[in-house]
Amino acid sequence: MEETYEIKGANRLDALRTFLGSLFETDNIGSILVPVQSETTHAIMPTLVSDPAVLAMADPFAPCFPLNGAKLVSKLTKRPGDKTMAVVLRPCELRALVELVKIKQARMDHLITISFDCPGAYSNKDFNRLPDRQESHTLEFLEKRLESGFQYHDHVQDQDQVQNQDQNQDQDKNEISLTTACSICTSPFPENADICITLVDQPADTLGLFATTDRGRELLMGRTSSVKPLPKTRDESIKAVLAQNKDAEKKVFEALSSKTATLEKLGIYLSACVNCYNCRVACPVCFCRECVFNTDVFDYEPFQYATWAKNKGSLRMPMDTVFFHVTRMIHMGLSCVGCGQCSNACPNDIPLAELFVSVGKEAQKGFSYGAGKDLDEPFPLSIFFENEFQDVTGI
């Protein structure tokens, strides 16, 4: 086991802020990207902090996940810099960042990645509806999640209604559910961050810290914080959470595959899509500067529409909806990290996350690849070998 340290504070957020503040003291860290609560609106947005005083509003544990921060890190690291930057990311954001680094859309050379045991998040809509979005809300949410062993709501588990958000809300109006993507997340614990922050089985005033890279180890080594092993129960607790989420995932996927078993059914599943392409914009691994669906390729002539309508009897407009989504699966399925921002971005509440996660996982399995797991594992479509996939060819 790695050397682990512990940070104490008045509460979990305080401990985290103390730790982040201490990063500024170590020479090289010039700025930290971390979700910070706005003083006026209580919105929580990733913020590049260079003044330690601002950290007093840092709140990465809130059930608020407005966007996948990997895209922001890509903007911040486009050119090589000389100052080291620290970024606090959820595990799925970190996985997306790893994917972006692989396809040369971000770099890690002057980056310290910090991740944490992710308690999950609400959808943007749900979070923004919350009346009370103070710090106390985050702490309460965290406490509840940790107490229950990251349980997805019990009544959901009991009644096999993981996928049915509406009914959940009817049954329990006060209780907001996590997004489906979070409830079926099979890797909510940091795996390859420079510094991992642990919450599971820690007391309410303590954070555990451990490093998984040399850079992280170096940073933690000179710390005044006390060395203390992680709670012995952690492995067990993590296993239980993973088992539970896998179970939820299985149920969601099963319901999904019968709903999307043919192209016709997929068309019905996506029938509320207005081709706004918000899912693509929100997707951290959809990195093209210009998407082909915005180019002249899909800018048809009026007579073409007329011809298609005539041939088919009717033409649903906007068209190319299934085309767009399946193309996106082919383009980014191998890199899908399961962050669920596609669902979050959809104005018409199409459950896209489970669709893309299930297709993505299957595609990744086909190449024995795990999106965002390992920086040294090359992106499957960037390599090839002579004697592979022999079963693909021939009749």
């Binding site: 499957p380 070998f385 060819t393 009749i395």
Partner: protein, 158 residues
């Protein structure tokens, strides 16, 4: 006139009615250097194969964008054939290896939506394999006739 048996026209499967005499449509992306030449050879050497296939010549299987394949299926193709040079024979050194990975990916994703692997084929047919080209098309058509149309109601495929 009235008692003359009407000529059986392959019913338009896109309208939803399953035809008794189902004639599948195959879109074939064939590489300029090998399979297209093979198809040419099949023609000049009077090899017979059913007319269900529409050939689209591409410079290399490595340039077959998954969107081409998708567009074919979404426009009502019952199968797509991508065919090029044998491994090691690619005019562009390794385009066919890249195609193989890509087709592997697309097969996996389309299978999930009811387009089985038999409907998206990748074959290596060299320039001198005219006979093999004709045989491939014949067996694909026979197989597809048994399988029926890929999509029964095109109107739902938005």
């Amino acid at each position: 006139m009235a008692d003359i048996e009407p000529i059986t026209i392959a019913a338009d499967h896109k309208s939803g009615s399953l035809a008794v005499d189902f004639e599948p449509t195959i879109i074939a992306f064939v590489c300029n250097w090998c399979t297209y030449t093979a198809a040419d050879l099949a023609g000049t050497s009077r090899q017979k194969y059913p007319p269900n296939v529409r050939l689209i010549k591409v410079m290399c299987t490595g340039m077959v964008d998954p969107k081409y394949v998708l567009k074919a299926f979404l426009s009502g193709a019952d199968a797509v054939l991508v065919s090029g040079c044998h491994p090691g024979d690619c005019h562009y050194i390794n385009g066919n290896y890249k195609a193989r990975r890509r087709i592997h990916l697309v097969q996996g994703i389309l299978e999930r939506f009811g387009i089985s692997r038999e409907r998206l084929r990748l074959t290596w047919i060299g320039a001198s394999d005219g006979i093999q080209f004709a045989r491939t098309i014949r067996s694909m058509v026979a197989e597809l006739k048994k399988m029926g149309p890929a999509v029964t109601d095109m109107k739902q495929v938005i």
